[in-house]
């Protein structure tokens, strides 16, 4: 059993009771909701005649279904409009703060929580979305939950939970040029497997993480869930505190100093004990590209696609399924694979630093004729910041579409979808069959800079060659 870790400290300070079922009742410090998974929960609440127990601990935004080309109401899709109206109604009825379009603070729930300073070290966080793990970048325990659990958080500000084990993952040394946080995480998932994290909270540390910005840490924690870990986190440090200073919901003045003291105290102790420790070398990580239909099926961009015959029977089966769907061949290089669509967006990689990096790649180039390319900023604030820096012009001039904030083609619940068997280079987090809106559609996950390079070349390119 792990001891003295951030996981242990935050868990212990939030336990309300041990339940007759053997689970623990855990207080949830911050609850984030969006339009897709909350309406049923509100309905259940109303039907029981219950109210929201701690309305000032729940914040709402709209992201999954919003069209990114026009936000005019009513939305063209009746189901989308219905979901939006339901959220508006529920927020009003229960007195919840709702970051709607007109606030200028709307965006993907996992982008806006940190951006507004709602996400703070030492908190427990819940949201009806599996990528809630993103908030772990701040040293929180952030759980993705289902609709019934949303109802429980609304009604009681608590969840019934089973404790997790803790695995420390060190990435030591330095990353090479052209290697980003996204590559680090794709590499970790590749090494530990998509089921490797089941039952664990992942604690990320080591020199590479110490040097990462908050944006980069969020990219890694975001995809903990793709590695099977429900929760992933980085211990809070000066980088965390500086990020939070001056944010809308962060403490200010004297309270900020007190907060920093508390935030420091929740970090894992130097003598903390873990259930498992894994070490990787930053220098061993290449820019990564997925070739299959799970986020673990990836290779370094200069590698050739793996041979299923050299795999374990289980991996072989899923590799064969993946090759069949993707239309790719074992032994061929991933570099040079033609693409049809380039998508820069999602809660993994649509923050301002992602857009800056992609714009740097795009600057002075044109998107290949065969490629439809678009950028979907993670939030209205990201969009505004990017426009102030004239990044939108760089993208537009190159032939990218410049869109409004939302999840967009990460899961294609809005009108942005792959068509037929199109292949996308995507900065999102899931390459599951059908994920981007077409049953035959194919997804290559990579860093936003790599997506930008692929958009210009019309095929998967090595960002390192591209930049030199």
């Amino acid at each position: 059993m792990a001891q003295g870790t951030l996981y242990n400290k935050v868990w212990d300070s939030h336990v309300v009771d041990k339940l007759p079922t053997g689970q623990y009742q855990l207080f949830i410090g911050l609850h984030l909701i969006h339009e897709v998974t909350s309406p049923q929960a509100f309905d259940m609440l109303s039907e029981k005649g219950l109210s929201v127990a701690y309305p000032n601990r729940t914040f709402a935004t709209v992201d999954h279904i919003v069209p990114t080309d026009s936000q005019a109401r009513p939305f063209q899709d009746g189901q989308a409009e219905a979901m939006m109206s339901a959220l508006e109604k529920n927020a009003r009825k229960f007195g919840l703060q709702f970051f709607s379009f007109n606030t200028g603070q709307q965006g993907i729930v996992h982008i806006i929580g940190p951006e507004l300073g709602l996400t703070q070290p030492g908190m427990t966080i819940a949201c009806g979305d599996s990528h809630t793990s993103t908030h772990g970048a701040f040293g929180t325990l952030a759980f993705g939950v289902g609709t019934t659990q949303i109802r429980d958080v609304l009604a009681t500000q608590c969840l019934a939970m089973d404790p997790l084990k803790v695995r420390r993952i060190n990435v030591n040394g330095r990353l090479g040029p052209g290697v980003y946080a996204k590559d680090v995480m794709l590499y970790i998932i590749h090494q530990l497997g998509v089921k490797g994290g089941i039952g664990y909270a992942y604690e990320y540390g080591g020199a590479v993480f110490d040097r990462m910005t908050m944006d980069e840490r969020m990219t890694v924690c975001n995809m903990s869930i793709e590695g099977g870990a429900r929760v992933g986190y980085v211990n809070p440090d000066e980088t965390t505190f500086e990020y939070l200073r001056g944010r809308k919901f962060a403490p200010s003045g004297l309270a900020f100093d007190k907060a920093v003291e508390y935030w420091r105290s929740v970090a894992s102790s130097p003598d903390a004990q873990y259930d498992d420790v894994v070490d990787f070398e930053g220098a061993a990580i290449e820019p990564m590209v997925t070739w299959g239909v799970t986020p673990g099926q990836s290779v370094g961009v200069s590698d050739r696609l793996p041979d299923p015959d050299a795999m374990s029977p289980e991996d072989k089966k899923s590799a064969e399924f993946a090759y069949n769907h993707m239309g790719l061949k074992p032994g061929s290089p991933i570099k040079g694979t033609p693409i049809d669509v380039a998508f820069i967006g999602s809660c993994t990689n649509s923050r301002i630093s992602d857009l800056r990096e992609a714009a740097r790649v795009v600057q002075g180039h044109k998107v290949a004729n065969s490629v439809k390319a678009f950028v979907v900023p993670g939030s209205q604030q990201v969009k505004q910041q990017a426009e102030e820096e004239k990044l939108d012009e760089v993208f537009r001039e190159a032939g990218f579409d410049w869109r409004g904030a939302g999840c967009s083609m990460c899961l294609a619940m809005n009108p942005d979808k792959l068509v037929g068997s199109q292949i996308s280079a995507s900065s999102s987090n899931r390459n599951f069959v059908g994920r981007q809106g077409s049953k035959e559609g194919r997804t290559l996950l990579m860093s936003p800079a790599m997506v930008a390079a692929a958009a210009i070349e019309g095929r998967v390119a090595d960002i390192r060659e591209f930049l030199s």
């Binding site: 300070s13 336990v15 207080f27 049923q40 219905a82 009681t156």
Partner: protein, 211 residues
């Protein structure tokens, strides 16, 4: 009064609606195409949809569309009601239409469990008693019906001498309704005071100025 008290269900009173027939499966209660909807909100429009409307949307005269049974809260059924797929949409659809309790000769186990999670008591009575109750509501739809879990009986007809029939419900479910512990929300709510204490102890809840 503790919060769990608010979740106690000891008695359901209302008028009844009879849906006759054995082995009515959940596909009939809610056709599969409505599972595509992302919220349960509209489920109340769909119970028995394909038995209520023809392909042109004209009513086929099902009890759920019969004006005499509008406003009913107690569903009367026969044998093995709710068999088939485990979809929670079925009890959701009934509940959203207005059903607060179901009385029948027997029920599929998963359906009964799903109903319990939603706070809908599903109780059984003998075939004869169910039949008599159905006949009564068909001839007088406004008959007042009381499902009294505490005394484990169903009463219907005018006071002071209503007809009384016995009801059965598994012990564990009866307790869950009587104690208000039929879902996790209830259990978590019962710790409201301890929850508050934890919240007050957490420095970020008070904005770090609590000292």
């Amino acid at each position: 009064m503790t919060d769990l008290d608010e979740l106690k269900i000891t008695k359901i009173e209302g008028t009844a609606i009879p849906v006759e027939g054995n082995d009515i499966d959940t596909d009939r209660i809610i056709p599969a195409r409505y599972l595509k909807e992302i919220t349960f909100t509209s489920m109340g429009n769909y119970p028995f949809y394909d038995e209520r409307f023809d392909t042109d949307g004209n009513s086929k005269g099902h009890p759920f569309d019969d004006p005499r049974f509008q406003g009913a809260s107690i569903l009367l059924v026969n044998k093995n009601f709710g068999c088939g797929s485990s979809r929670e949409h079925a009890p959701q659809a009934l509940m959203r239409w207005g059903i607060k309790a179901v009385v029948g000769e027997s029920f599929a186990e998963i359906f009964a469990g799903n109903c319990t999670m939603l706070g809908i008591p599903v109780v059984t009575a003998s075939a004869t008693h169910v039949q008599e109750l159905m006949e009564q509501t068909k001839s007088s739809p406004q008959t007042a019906v009381v499902i009294d879990l505490e005394h484990q009986e169903i009463r219907y007809g005018a006071a002071p001498e209503p007809t009384r029939i016995g009801l059965e419900i598994p012990e564990s479910r009866l307790k869950a309704f009587m104690h208000g512990t039929w879902d996790s929300t209830g259990i978590l709510l019962s710790n409201a005071e301890k929850t508050k204490a934890v919240a007050e102890r957490l420095p970020y809840i008070s904005g770090f100025d609590g000292g």
